[in-house]
Amino acid sequence: MKLTHLQILEAEAIHVMREVAAELERPVLLFSGGKDSIVLLRLAEKAFRPARFPFPLMHVDTGHNFPEVIAFRDRRVAELGERLIVASVQDSIDAGRVVEETGPRASRNRLQTTTLLDAIAEHGFDAAFGGARRDEERARAKERIMSFRDDFGGWDPKAQRPELWNIYNGRIRKGEHVRVFPLSNWTELDVWEYIEAEDLEVPSIYFAHEREVFRRDGMLYAVSPHVQFIDGEQAFLESVRYRTVGDMSCTGAVASTALALSDVVAEIAATTITERGETRADDKVSEAAMEDRKVAGYF
């Protein structure tokens, strides 16, 4: 009788999901079409089948997503037969809830927080599953698996509830909610090994493909209607893949020739740089960029 470390992580994540389904009234699972939330969906199948999921799925759509990812999202939701809510950043802009950034480095990353919190309030959600992992970033390394959010959606890193054994405290008052991170103890490599072991489909942009890109701040960005060139930047063709799936405007590609899942696993196992360090401009704003955004209610 042997359990691999992936089986132990899987058992822990399933336990967390069932605990939330049992103790909270209106959970929602945040599904972006990215690799981590793809794993969350498989874990939800393992936790709740043959029944339907006891929660809907929700995507905070910035309007700047990769079209391949949106197509995958809709296909996967249809396969599962579950309900998807799309919360749109464009709607938040149109309603005057947020103001679009301007300039060549404009990003909708920060705006998502308002759209997310508005959607949580509108639907009365009291728990939101996310695919964040502690190995991603140092503020996330400090966060609880079940993480309390006050009635402003904010995280207080200095007043976190102690979290012991496998006992989770999901008690909240009206207007407050919890964010739940079943993959807290998974690493990027664990996620890819699990995707390989479970033979899960992922969007095509995770594999090497030819793309028109340009170089900025040492990263390769896709040429798209959502970004403007700064003086001297030029488009060129490159074989790239994506390590993370975010907005086209702030997610960098990596040069890669990985065509199959096994190639991706090998590439991640040998990498010398973290996924967010290599591909996410949104984390590079300041030393505590993620902590600050999380305090404000970000994913």
């Binding site: 009788m1 390394a141 200095k158 006992i167």
Partner: protein, 411 residues
């Protein structure tokens, strides 16, 4: 039938002065778990390498230069994957240390070879023991500063062994090392030929944790009832907390005291021949019984206590003290109830390891022996027999904060 695992959860306790950050940095670096951009990030504004930035991830921690909350780090070798909970060492953060220690298989207690066993060493070892961590490693660090002296190492072993009998840990290993120079962390040290043991990492890779799980007594706390839309399927989902669960087993459901048989043990992949801790599965029973969340499935021959009175060691985690007569919500396994504090029978001095009888209250970070009465009967085991069915948390019903962590000693 041994259960083997290639995942080890370990907790480290100590302060910057003990070289804790250096040790973690050395382990992660030599296990190639610090990537280039993270390494660059370890240099603060002054450009100096600061390893505490590896685990002090919050703005307040970096500003104050202290570890406040548990940080989790991950690394893997070809033999095992590791989850490292780095916990603060100062007494005012005992609750955070308890949090990080609650899930650990192994604790590393750091000792500065120059100062030997000090008050903090005893406190850390004792908290590890209280939390039921089976394996303890006493890492005698800074051996380079005592000229790799065997006598200095022996003194630590001798002093530690003086209170070893008061600890409930299953085994204790002593490793002389220098985190700064890398002696006996990943590579064996040439400077300490007198040391007959293995380097720290090799110990972590090979320490046997198979025997730590209770495979004798079936404990299956019912977590969630799964029913499909047609009503044909009714399964009881949960994580196995002890023993083996097999189809055909005769089982007892508590608190209803009904006996039935396991029809099948289901997983997404299909029915299983056996389930064991910590697997999350779904159980179907042959009889239609009223079984719901909070119930516990066990074998009729080895049932847990089912009682409304219990005695536990409680680590208090709130500013407002615990006093006799206090009422709280209690969460035990998957069962929620209310609890009232009948009495506080003693407070543990976590440095002298003595019990002070009859304190009036437990303050923040105190650990005391508490007698509770619950609103509904709980099915529990002593914590020493089962960490899952022997533990609970207390929740303040006004603030919803988790205010206490309890380890049951007896009914």
């Amino acid at each position: 039938m041994p259960v083997t695992s290639d995942l080890l959860r370990l907790a480290t306790a100590g302060s910057v002065d003990d070289g804790k950050s250096t040790l973690i940095g050395r382990l992660l670096h030599d296990a190639k778990a610090i990537l280039a951009d993270q390494f660059d990030d370890l240099r603060g504004r002054d450009g100096e390498l600061d390893l505490s930035r590896l685990t002090d991830g919050l703005r307040a921690e970096r500003e104050q230069g202290i570890t406040i909350d548990v940080a989790y780090r991950y690394f893997a070798t070809p033999r095992r994957s590791f989850i490292l909970a780095d916990t603060p060492g100062h007494v005012q953060y005992t609750r955070n240390m308890v949090t990080g220690a609650s899930t650990a298989d192994l604790a590393i207690v750091l000792v500065d070879a120059r100062s030997g066993v000090v008050e903090q060493t005893r406190r850390h070892a004792f908290i590890a023991s209280l939390l039921g961590i089976p394996h303890l490693v006493v890492a005698v660090n800074k051996m380079d500063l005592v000229d790799y002296s065997e006598e200095a190492f022996d003194a630590v072993v001798r002093d530690f062994s003086g209170f070893r009998s008061q600890l409930a840990v299953r085994d204790t290993a002593f490793v002389p090392l220098s985190a700064l120079r890398g002696d006996n962390v990943v590579e064996p040290s040439e400077a300490m030929p007198w040391y007959g043991g293995v380097p720290l990492l090799e110990y972590l890779e090979t320490v046997e944790i198979e025997a730590d799980r209770n495979l004798d007594e079936l404990r299956f706390p019912v977590q969630y009832v799964i029913r499909d839309g047609s009503g044909d399927y009714r399964g009881y989902a949960g994580q196995v907390a002890g023993g083996l669960l097999r189809p055909g087993d005769e089982v007892l459901v508590l608190p209803s005291e009904r006996v039935t048989t396991v029809a099948s043990v289901d997983s997404y992949e299909g029915p299983l021949d056996v389930a064991f801790p910590p697997m999350s599965v779904t159980v179907r029973l042959t009889d239609e019984l009223d079984v719901s969340r909070g119930d516990l499935i066990c074998r009729p021959g080895d049932r847990p206590a089912l009682a409304r009175d219990l005695v536990a060691d409680v680590c208090w985690m709130a500013d407002a003290p615990l006093r006799p007569g206090g009422r709280y919500a209690i969460k035990h396994a998957t069962h929620s109830a209310r609890a009232i504090v009948e009495s506080i029978d003693g407070r543990l001095d976590v440095t002298s390891l003595e019990r002070e009888p009859g304190p009036a209250e437990l303050a923040l970070n105190d650990i005391g022996r508490v007698r509770l009465r619950t609103s509904k009967p709980l099915a529990f085991d002593p914590y020493a027999r089962n960490r899952f069915t022997g533990s609970f948390i207390l929740i303040d019903e006004a603030t919803n904060d988790t205010v206490g962590a309890g380890m049951i000693t007896a009914p």
